[in-house]
Symmetry: none
Subunit: 179 residues, 4 copies
């Protein structure tokens, strides 16, 4: 059991049961080790939370934006991001939003800022005025966030693949300016 194992276990617990579930004793039990072992890899629970959040950030924020940012067509960029919202709703993020810990809040804030900036740039690339691009980015990101929450509590809201596809199309029609 190394640092990464703990980080992943923390993220899994977070996704399933919320921020309070990042608790050393239960995690240790789940991992089949004693709690003392944890302190070999981390100085404190805070350090674990921090590391887990950073791991999430690297994969789901920086990673995704880098990948999508490499796409030339702004419309395709938005299509990818909106499709992701429906196909792989960011349930971890939905839970992170719930955390009262300053460190987590900071990461969530940073993620929002970076994503809003990306969206704003993308909408500007599509010819929107700076103000309109900013507003539209805010709307799109709010929809993304809210959808994550909604789908977490009501996974049956978009239960069938048909509904899913239909809604994805609707999202694109509403949030991607026509050519």
């Amino acid at each position: 059991m190394d640092r990464e194992g703990w980080e992943q276990a923390a993220l899994d617990a977070l996704e399933e049961a919320g921020p309070d579930a990042i608790a050393i004793v239960p995690l240790a039990k789940a991992l089949g080790v004693t709690r003392g072992s944890f302190y070999h890899h981390f100085d404190s629970r805070e350090e674990l939370v921090d590391a887990a959040v950073e791991r999430w950030y690297a994969v789901h924020v920086t990673g995704v934006l880098d990948a999508v940012g490499a796409i030339a067509d702004p419309r395709e960029r938005l299509r990818q991001l909106l499709g992701r919202a429906v196909d792989k709703p960011p349930t971890i993020l939905a839970q992170l939003l719930a955390s009262p810990e300053p460190l987590v809040r900071a990461a969530v804030r940073r993620a929002a800022a970076e994503r809003l900036a990306f969206l704003t740039r993308t909408y500007a690339d599509l010819g929107l005025s700076p103000a309109a691009a900013r507003d539209q980015a805010l709307l799109a990101y709010a929809a993304y966030l809210g959808l994550a929450q909604l789908l977490q509590d009501q996974p049956d809201a978009l239960a069938t693949p048909r509904r899913k596809t239909a809604f994805a199309k609707h999202l694109q029609a509403q949030l991607i300016p026509a050519e």
Copy 2:
């Protein structure tokens, strides 16, 4: 100190510090009474959480939908609801979304269902097809939820009144079908 006092204190704590803050010991300390007093009015913490959530539901879900439902013009209905999202972001709801407690999740789910139904009806009133109305309602409510989260962590995203008004207009333009 009566039942209502405890419920209100619970909601206040929730709004300020998240679901974990609904804890009897700290609340009693804040209210200047002993914990024993709490057990006069409630059988358990769960009962308090339940009561507080019901109070929120009555005011912010049923109450608002009743009031807005009394408005004849569907467009005005939507305008009111979207304006509310920007002017009084539902911070309590943002925190409720964070709670791991089944009771709270159920209330949040119920609220979502009722609101989605209301929005779907309203969009149908505007002439959208059943499917389109449902999709559009989902988008609008997701935006509403996400905005609450966003504004909680980044109150400066819409700091100036001008930005606020502009964004409210943008929301209406994007989410209310043209006449």
Copy 3:
């Protein structure tokens, strides 16, 4: 079991086993209650240590100095204090000297300052110059402190009553100026 009981138990443990022995779990076990009970009376271990130290201070510093201060004859005052050093060596003080906790150190320092001032006044009353009074007070208090340590580790250094009396006389002869 009330606050005072805990304070006394803390002082007893301190006297017998040193500052580390002021530990909630073992004390609770000794008192026949659970550790949770402790937190009904105190907010933290620090608060207990603080309260216990204050209790010691009131009895052994303020109390003794008040009583001895009421004696008119300066020589008798010194006789009493030196006698006490031999008869009831301040074992609690010897342990307090060992504590690394800032709060305890502060109390020990305060006690030293108050006692040194008292001794200095007393020696001045006997006609010593200010400088000499101060030096002599320092010597006398150092002897008092050191004796406490010495007798704690070697209770047999003054085992027999005869040795005790003899040494008490010696102390008086050496540390109280001749008439």
Copy 4:
């Protein structure tokens, strides 16, 4: 990192932060090695404490008594010892007095016995009766010990060099019999 390094680190930690500071984890961290390394040189914490105390004993007890014992004039012997009390207050000893560990207590006791015997011999050399020599040795050593404690908590008690010299003279006048 060899045995001696650990012993010295233990003594340094002891002098600075008291007996509880002789802890393998923090020492290892401070020395930049892992705890496993410690168990190469020592079987247990107890062995380290023992070794460190023996090192202190060899230098500060045996060593000093040997050096001072080589001086012919008993008065000069006392002058040296008392001067040391003021110039280099034995802060390690002050901390050792605080330790609850039997091994440490034993060493402290042994040191006291050896030093008291030395002082008693010295006072006898000056012509005091056996009983008087013993009492005077006890007084002198108590003052030495107490001064160490006092100066540790109140380093400003003898802050200026003038005060220091004056008090050293006072000590000699009071504790070394006149010729």
